[in-house]
C-alpha cells in the first residue's frame, strides 16, 4: 500500500525515520487491549528524496502488506457487513472491486494518509506550525478541557491517546467491556492547529474550514465535524458567540475563539480547533442481520478476524495528518511554502 505526494518543495530534509515515527503512532500500543496485527508498517521510499533532501519530484512511499491470508474475507464477498462499505462498493465497482479486507475502503489505507501527513508535518515544522490531536471522548467517557501543553506532552503516553491519564484508564475499561461483549465503541477526537497565519484560505471554492472538513470526512468512520463552538453555536446568542478583537503584545487577537480560528473560510490567526466524531468499529463479533446479494435473501453474518473494539485512538495521528496536509495545501497556494 502506498502513496504519492506531489508538490513537495525541494530541499526539505526528510528521512525514513520522519515518516516511520508517524506511522508508529498509528500502530496499536504494545501490550494494550488493542490486538496488533502482524503488519509492521515499515515505510520504504521509492522516489523523491536524494541525499536526505526532497528533490521536488513526487515522493512515493510504500508499506508492504505482510498478512496474506485473505480467507476470512472471502465470506464478505456476498454478505455485506453492516456498517462497512461492502455493499455500496460492490455496486460502485460492478462487483469487480477487491473485497478482501474491505479493499480500498479498509481503515488500513489511513496508513497512506499518515505517510503523506508526515511530509506535511515536516513542512509545517519549518514554519513553526503545529498540529495536535487527542481523544476527548470514548462512548460516555469525556475528558475535561486540556491545555496545549498537556496535550502535547501526554497524548501518546497511553494506549487511548487521551492526554489525561486517569480518564484514559476509564476509557480503556469501556473498550475492554465492549470487547468482552463482542461489541465496539466510538468517540470523538479533538484537533488543534497552532500558529497558522491569518488570511489563509481560498474563497469561494476552497474555504480553509471546508477543505479541512472534506479531508476529515475522508477518514473512514467519521460522521461529524465541527469547528470552534461547533453545534453549540446553535444555542448561543450572537453577543455570546462573536469573538471580540483586542490588541495583545502588538498582535490583533480575539478574546474568545468560538469561531475555531476560521471566519469566512479564512484563518483568523487564532488556533484552528475542531472536533471529529468517529462511529464505533463496524466489525463486531456479535451476529448481525444482512443480505446475501447473490440470492437476495436475508441472512446472518458473524465478522471474523482480529478487530479493534475501538479505532478512535489509532485515528489520532490520522486526524493530525489530514489537518496537516490541508494546511500545507493552503500555505502552498498562499505562497508560504
Amino acid at each position: 500500500m502506498g502513496v504519492v505526494v506531489d508538490g513537495c518543495p525541494p530541499g526539505l530534509e526528510l528521512s525514513d525515520a520522519d515518516v516511520q515515527r508517524e506511522l508508529d503512532k498509528r500502530r496499536p500500543a504494545v501490550g494494550s487491549i488493542f490486538t496488533p496485527r502482524r503488519e509492521e508498517d515499515k515505510v520504504e521510499f521509492f522516489s523523491g528524496v536524494f541525499k536526505g533532501q526532497t528533490t521536488g519530484a513526487p515522493l512515493c512511499m510504500l508499506v508492504w502488506n505482510r498478512e496474506v491470508d485473505s480467507r476470512p474475507y472471502e465470506e464478505i464477498r456476498w454478505t455485506p457487513r453492516p456498517g462497512h462499505a461492502d455493499y455500496p462498493a460492490r455496486i460502485r465497482y460492478k462487483g469487480f472491486n477487491d473485497y478482501r479486507g474491505g479493499g480500498r475502503f479498509s481503515g488500513r489505507l489511513t496508513a497512506a494518509y499518515v505517510m503523506a501527513g508526515a511530509v506535511a508535518k515536516r513542512l509545517l515544522e519549518g514554519l513553526g506550525i503545529e498540529v495536535l490531536a487527542h481523544v476527548v471522548q470514548i462512548n460516555r467517557i469525556e475528558v475535561k478541557a486540556l491545555s496545549v501543553e498537556e496535550i502535547r506532552t501526554h497524548v501518546y503516553s497511553n494506549p487511548m491517546r487521551c492526554a489525561d491519564g486517569n480518564v484514559a484508564r476509564l476509557m480503556e475499561q469501556v473498550v475492554q467491556d465492549a470487547r468482552n461483549a463482542g461489541d465496539s465503541v466510538g468517540g470523538v477526537v479533538e484537533g488543534r492547529i497552532l500558529n497558522v497565519p491569518p488570511g489563509i484560505g481560498q474563497p469561494i471554492f476552497d474555504f480553509l474550514d471546508a477543505d479541512l472538513a472534506k479531508a476529515l470526512f475522508t477518514i473512514p468512520a467519521v460522521k461529524g465535524v465541527e469547528f470552534g463552538a461547533g453545534f453549540k453555536v446553535a444555542r448561543l446568542m450572537g453577543s455570546q458567540n462573536n469573538d471580540a478583537y483586542a490588541m495583545k503584545d502588538g498582535q490583533v487577537l480575539t478574546l474568545t475563539n468560538n469561531s475555531g480560528g476560521v471566519l469566512g473560510g479564512l484563518s483568523t490567526g487564532m488556533p484552528i480547533t475542531f472536533r471529529v466524531a468517529f462511529k464505533p468499529t463496524p466489525s463486531i463479533s456479535k451476529p448481525q442481520q444482512t443480505v446475501d446479494v447473490k440470492t437476495l435473501v436475508d441472512t446472518k453474518i458473524e465478522v471474523k478476524g482480529r478487530h479493534d473494539a475501538c479505532i478512535v485512538p489509532r485515528a489520532v495521528p490520522v486526524v493530525e495528518s489530514m489537518a496537516a496536509i490541508t494546511v500545507v495545501d493552503h500555505l502552498l497556494a498562499a505562497g508560504f511554502l
Copy 2:
C-alpha cells in the same frame, strides 16, 4: 452578482421562472419579523439557454444589486466586525478587498449558490431525486422528528422554514426577542436527499459525504456538519449503530439509517441525511469590542444597517442548493447525467 454554471448537459428545459422560484425561497417572508432589503433578486440569464433549453454552453445568471448606499459599510474598513470575515479578508487581500457589505464574504453571495442550485435541482428532478431541508432548531427550540411528507408540504409555509407550524411560532418569538435585545440567534438545518442510487461517490479523493460537507461548510456561518446519527455515534455501541441489511420489495435496504445514507464515501441507496449548525448572525446592534487596524488600538463598534436577527430560515434553500449541486457533480462523474 452572478454565477457561471459549466457542465450542464444540453437539452434540459430551463426557464427564468425555475431559477426565480428558488431565489424567492431565499427572500425573507413578506410581513414577517425578517426585514427585507429592497433587493428583489430578479434573475437574468446571460447565456446557456436557447429556445427554452440548455445548450451545453455555460449558464451565466445574474441578479443586480439595487441597494447602492454603501455608506454604512465604510466604517468597517478599519474596525473589523466580530464574527465577520472583515479582519482575515483584509489580510488575505492585503487591504484591497471590497469591504462594502462584507464583499464576497457577504451572506448575499448565497443567492449565487441558489441560482446554481436551481439548475442542479432541475437535473435531479429528471432522475426522481429530491432534496429537502428544513429548520430543526433555533436557539433552544427544537422540533421533533418529522416525516418526509410533513417537511415537503410545510417547510415553506411559514417564515421560519420549520415544517411544524406550532414550533415555528415559538422559534419566531425567540427571534423577535433577540431582535428586541439587539442580539441574534443561531440554529440547525436538517437536510435529506431522497432516491440517490447506491454506489455514488469517488474514493479516496472525492467521498460523497466529504464533498457534501465541503459544500455545506462553504455556506457562511456554518460551524458543524454531521451525517446520520452524527456526533451521537460517539455514544453508540457498534451493535446499535450498524445498519442491518434486509430485503424489502426486492430491494436491498437497511433497517435503520444511522449512517445517513453514506458508507465509505459511497451512497448506500438510503436517504442521505445530514444536519448543519449555523451560528447566530454576527451583525448585532449591541456595541462590541474590536480593534482599529489602522492605529492598532482597542475600540468599540456598533454595526448599523438592517440585519436579520436570525439567518437560519433563509439558509434553507441554500442548504438544498449546495446538496443538489454536489449530488449532480457526483452523478455526472458516475455517468447518470
Copy 3:
C-alpha cells in the same frame, strides 16, 4: 459575451482602458480591406475592481453583442458549413447547441480571450515580462527575420499586423485577391515572450511549452504550433540544434535559441519563441458541398454574411493573450505573483 478571471492577485491597478486597448487591437483596422462588423466590443466590468485596483475577487468582464440579426445563421442549422464546427457541435450537444454564428465555436469568443489576456499582460508588465506577436506569413508571402525592436514598434502600424510595412502591403494584396475570388487565405503568427525567468514550468503534468501549446490550440483555426526551430529540428544534427551555454554579463545564456526558450518543459531564461499556423477562414462565399443533416442527402451551401477573407491579423492579440495567460498561470504556481 464575457469572461470570468479568478486568481488575479489583489492590488493590481486595472482600468477599463487597459482592457479596451487590447480589445481594440483585435478589431479590424479602420478603412482596411477588413470589413468591420458593427460590434464595438466595449468592455464593461461587473466585478473584481474597486477604487481602480483589483480586489482579489473574480474579475467579470463583458462585451455586448449588438448585432441581433441572426437570420443569416438559421440556414446553417441543418447544413453544416465545411471547415466550421457546426457538424461536430451538433452531435456533441445533441442538437441543442445555439448554432447562430457558430455559437460558442465562433471566432468572436476570442474577444473573451483578449479581455482575460489584458489582465495577464498587466500582471506581466509589473515583472518586466513582455509578450509580442506578429504575422510572419500570409499564404505564400513570408517576412524575413525581424528584431524585437522592429516588431514592438511596427506590428500594429498596419492592418496586416506584420512588422515589415513593405511585406504587409504584399500580404494585403493577397487578401484582396482572395476576397475578390470569394475565397480566403491563412497564415502564420510568430510569438515571443521576453524576460521569463529560468526554471518556470511544472513537470510532468504541466510543462510550460505543453501548456502554451494547449492554450494556442484553443484559438479557433490553429492547426500547428512549434517552438524554437520547430519542425526544422527534424533536419538538424544534434551538434547544430543544441544551444551551447555561455556566460554573458554575469548571466548564463545560450548562444543560439533553437529550443525556443524551453527545455524539459521549463523555461531556460532565453526568449520563448513559437509559431502558430492558422488555416484560411472557413467562411467563403464560393458554393461548397455539404450534407443536409435532417434529410441526410448531399447538398450545397453558400455561406452568407460579412466575413473576413483572412483572420490571421486579428489573431495577433489573441495569440499574445493566450501566451500571457499561460505564463501568468505558471508564474503564479511558481510564487512570482
Copy 4:
C-alpha cells in the same frame, strides 16, 4: 520508476502481458544500431487488478531501474548539458533535483507513459478505436504517404519503426552515420487515431486537439505538433482547405481530411491525424560548450555513456500512448467508458 493510473473503469481484463507488450515496443530492436541498455523494463503491478480484471482502484505499475552506476552523471551536476533540462531543472528545484541521468527529465520516464498508455489502449480496443504511429522522417529521409493497412502491418517490423522497409534502411544508414560522427539526428512521427466518434471534446477549456497537443509536448524532445494539413494550411486557399461533407454508406463523412479529424476542438468522426517533430538526441559525444554553474565560467563538456544517436523510433509507442490516454480521458468525460 512507476505510474499510478486512476479512473480506469472496473472490469477491464488486464494482464502484465498487455502492458509488457507495449513496453517492449519501446525497447531498442535487438541487434540494431540502437545500443540497448541493460534495463529490461519488466512491469510489476502493485494494485488495481484482481483476478485478472481491473477493480476500479488506482493501477500502480513499476519497472525497476537495474542500472545503478550513476557515476557518468555526476559530472553533469555542475556543467549542464546543452539541449537537456539540466540547467533550468537546477534552477527550478534550487539545486536539490536528482540530476542523475537527467532525473525526472530523462527520456526514460516515457516508460511510465507507455505503461499508462497500455491501459488506455485496452480500453480503446473495447470501443474499436485504434491508435497508430510511425516514423515518417529521419533527418532528410522522408517516407511517402502510407495506407493504414501498411502502417498497421509493418511499423514494428524494423528497428526504425518506419512502415516502408526500403526507406527504413535509408534512415538506418543516416542514424549510423550520425553515430559514427559522434552526432545525432531527429525526425517526425505521424499519428492516426481511427474510429473516434464525432463530437468528442470539451470546449472551451479542453479542446480535443489542444489536449492532444499538450500530451504530445509532454514527450521530451518534441518541438512541434500539427493536425491534418498542419503548417501547410498557411498556404492553402479556404476553398482548398475546407473539407466538404458528403454522405457515404449512410454516414456523414468529409471528402478530404485537412482538418485532421478535429474542428472547433471536437472530433469530426474522421481519422484524427497529427505529426510530431522530434529534435535530435541532445546527448552527443562531440565536445560542447557549456558553463560551470558553480564557478560561472565557460567550459566544455563531453557527454559520456551509451546514448542513442536517434530516439525517434523509440518514441513511436510513446506517441501512441499519449494519444490513447488523451482520447480515453475525453471518452470518459463524454460517458463512452
